[in-house]
């Protein structure tokens, strides 16, 4: 192809076009950003219901029968209160965090790796639990914890919780493990068949293990790691990486890998164990070192358009009936003690160890690692979530 003068002109024009667009975009861009944090007050009394409420939640938390006609706990709320529910689901805590910035949602169901950031960014308001009668029924060990309160101020209502357990193939992994060492120090025995959850938050799993096995590191809280402690956890995970068959984030992927035997040992959730095909030789255990886990919280947006309907929803979802339906459908322990009487499967609470404070005490619930150490140390700076993300990418290599 020959380069004609006309072609050269068009090239120049394209160049100019790119530059102009770039400048325009920059100009648009600079006006956004900021986000001042102003402490908001909790509501002291309830007003009239607004007639609608907008919810942001994990999939399976807000079911109105549109996915499965049998699964519906939203319609009852709408009939009872007259608040029409619109809901959106999110896939990761970070997605929830950025969606809350739009200001379109009145209520969010946040995990511990998002809740503190939402509070810090001023996106959620304190919740006056006196206005929520069903709060009384919530297990005490879930109330006013580090992931749902700040400086003694409650920022939400516990929804449900669960542990990241150890699952193993009973035919291959013998004797039955009681320690996480089968996926760490002794994982070479199962080279290529070990799995782990694919998220930076998995670094906390290694930290929990090190709390017992390398006490000289003095890890007090697996989400408050200084440079040395993080480096030790990362080294443990890098050694583990050699024996990893695959990481999982989609739980169906792990279900299939355990059914075929491609994976024989690794972290899991109770709901994954329950989803395995009949006859799969796999069991779960809460190892002696304890485990990480999650406890989700219903929070109210700082600038909610329908705060009264939001309070009504928080009260409704904490009620024994609704809490039982929602947590059983999702596969986690309910937060309301009364919920155990309403589950379809009478053994639900038992298999998820609901209300077992001793069991719950062994769980380190997901929290966002931040520079200001969560364990109260002030002489060091802790590693934050972005450090963990970088570390996690390097572990995977």
């Amino acid at each position: 192809m020959k380069r004609t003068p006309a072609r050269r002109t068009s090239l120049t024009l394209t160049g100019v076009a790119i530059l102009t667009t770039a400048l325009l975009l920059t100009a648009c861009g600079t006006s956004q950003g900021g986000g001042a944090t102003e402490p908001t007050e909790a509501q002291t009394e309830l007003g009239e219901l607004e007639g609608s409420v907008s919810l942001l939640a994990w999939p399976g938390y807000v079911e109105d029968g549109s996915n499965d006609p049998e699964v519906d706990w939203v319609s009852a709320f709408e009939d009872e209160t007259g608040c029409t529910v619109t809901s959106k689901t999110y896939g990761t805590s970070d997605e929830a965090f950025s969606l809350m910035k739009t200001g379109d949602y009145d209520v969010v169901a946040a995990s511990g790796d998002a809740s503190l950031r939402l509070v810090a960014a001023g996106d959620v308001a304190p919740v006056n639990t006196d206005l929520i009668p069903n709060y009384e029924g919530i297990f005490d060990f879930l109330k006013m914890q580090s992931w749902n309160s700040v400086d003694g101020v409650s920022y939400g209502i516990p929804h449900g919780y669960g542990a990241n357990l150890l699952m193993y193939n009973t035919e291959v992994v013998t004797p039955a493990p009681t320690s996480w060492d089968v996926v760490f120090d002794k994982s070479s025995a199962y080279k290529g068949a070990v799995t782990a959850y694919d998220s930076p938050i998995s670094i906390a799993d290694a930290a929990v293990y090190l709390m017992t096995h390398q006490p000289e590191l003095k890890i007090e809280n697996p989400y408050a790691l200084d440079e040395t402690q993080l480096a030790a956890s990362v080294q443990l995970l890098k050694d583990q990486r050699v024996n990893i068959g695959e990481y999982w984030s989609d739980y169906l992927k792990e279900v299939q890998a355990f059914e075929t035997g491609d994976t024989v040992v690794g972290t899991t959730w109770q709901v994954i164990r329950d989803s395995l095909a009949e006859g799969t030789p796999a069991e779960v255990v809460l190892p002696d070192e304890g485990a990480t886990g999650w406890s989700d919280t219903w929070m109210i947006a700082a600038n909610a358009k329908s705060p009264n309907c939001a309070y009504a929803w928080l009260d409704y979802i904490a009620s024994p009936e609704a809490n039982a339906q929602a947590t059983e459908y999702f596969g986690e322990a309910p937060s309301n003690a009364g919920a155990c009487d309403f589950t379809v499967n009478p053994d639900h609470c038992e298999s998820y160890h609901a209300g077992d404070a001793e069991y719950a005490a062994q769980i380190w619930y997901w929290s966002t690692p931040i520079a200001e150490c969560l364990d109260g140390r002030t002489n060091v700076k802790c590693t934050d979530y972005s450090d963990w993300t970088t570390a996690w990418q390097e572990i995977k290599g």
Binding site: I18, I244, G261
Partner: protein, 307 residues
């Protein structure tokens, strides 16, 4: 040429053009061909500029920003830290090499498989068989990408079909990992390589093959000296598809790649889990640069001139 004498004289029937605005405009445009062309092209060009060029520019600019790790907000201070991190970080170099290696292997495997199939379709098969073969090649494209990747996941699993087929020969399934990724990607992109090569071979006249044979050219020298130079641009076109599609893929490697990650996964985790759009944008520039380098190299061979 003969003219029917009984036909009425046409000129009398055609009405005189009236000097309406539309008419004047049309006359003006027919005299100014440049303007006509630019008016015709402005709408699609505007769209192209908005979708491609603006998106690319936005990407480049985002790569020069940073993100506040606590509030998660993008702060628009100009910095080249992300780009320096991506260029110097050993993680990114390893992953880039792995990704380029996978993309090259997939491309080579696809071309090796596609050449005989395309040759059979274009030169040997009957027209009926040819049509059936084209449909057969296109058929997998009707199924979802995810379904095909998950199908390979079960094929390659322990006790899966692959192992069952290989066991009589003492072979094993490669398990989940880079070999599985290469096999799956080669399967996924094969139609995109076969079709351009098939189209290229269709344009090679049979007479040339006969002439070569008449002049004493054997099968291999005919293929090498006559066919290959003619279908080279088609092969390049096919390779651009498989190479660039493999370079950006992150789902297949997630499903069958075991614990491995490619450039796409790094971008994905930085956008999703890490909420670090600027770093993700900086990483996304790597495949863009590689593709530009590849296109420039191809252009030097002259293959693009005959596309």
């Amino acid at each position: 040429m003969t003219v029917d004498a009984s036909a009425p004289p046409r000129r009398a029937v055609v009405p005189q053009p009236r000097g309406t605005i539309a008419r004047q405009g049309s006359v003006f445009l027919s005299r100014h061909s440049r303007l006509r062309l630019s008016l015709l092209l402005s709408a699609p060009l505007f769209w192209l500029g908005l979708v491609y060029i603006a998106a690319l520019a936005a990407l480049l600019i985002t790569a020069l920003w940073t993100v506040d790790s606590f509030t998660g907000q993008i702060s628009q201070t100009w910095t080249v830290d992300n780009i320096v991190a991506v260029l110097t970080g050993s993680l990114y170099q390893t992953v880039t090499l792995r990704t380029v290696g996978v993309a090259l292997l997939v491309t080579i495997i696809d071309i090796v498989i596609a050449l005989p199939i395309a040759f059979y379709m274009a030169k040997v098969a009957s027209p009926r068989a040819q049509r059936l073969l084209v449909i057969a090649i296109l058929m997998p494209l009707w199924a979802s990408y995810l379904v095909k990747a998950y199908a390979w996941r079960s094929v390659l699993s322990q006790g899966g079909i692959f192992e069952w087929m290989m066991s009589p020969f003492g072979g094993h399934s490669p398990g989940y990992g880079l070999p599985a990724t290469i096999i799956t990607l080669s399967y996924l992109w094969l139609p995109y390589v076969i079709l351009p090569i098939y189209a290229g071979l269709e344009r090679v006249p049979d007479s040339l093959l006969e002439a070569s044979a008449d002049l004493g050219g054997g099968t291999w020298s005919t293929l090498r000296l006559v066919v290959l130079p003619m279908i080279w641009p088609a092969i390049i076109a096919g390779s651009i598809f498989s190479f660039s599609l493999s370079l950006g893929d992150y789902i297949t490697v997630n499903i069958v790649g075991g614990a491995n990650q490619m450039l796409g996964n790094l971008v994905y985790t930085n956008v999703g889990a890490a909420n670090n759009l600027p770093l993700a944008a900086a990483i996304a520039l790597i495949p863009i640069l590689i593709i530009f380098a590849y296109l420039a190299a191809v252009r030097r061979t002259g293959a693009l001139n005959n596309l």
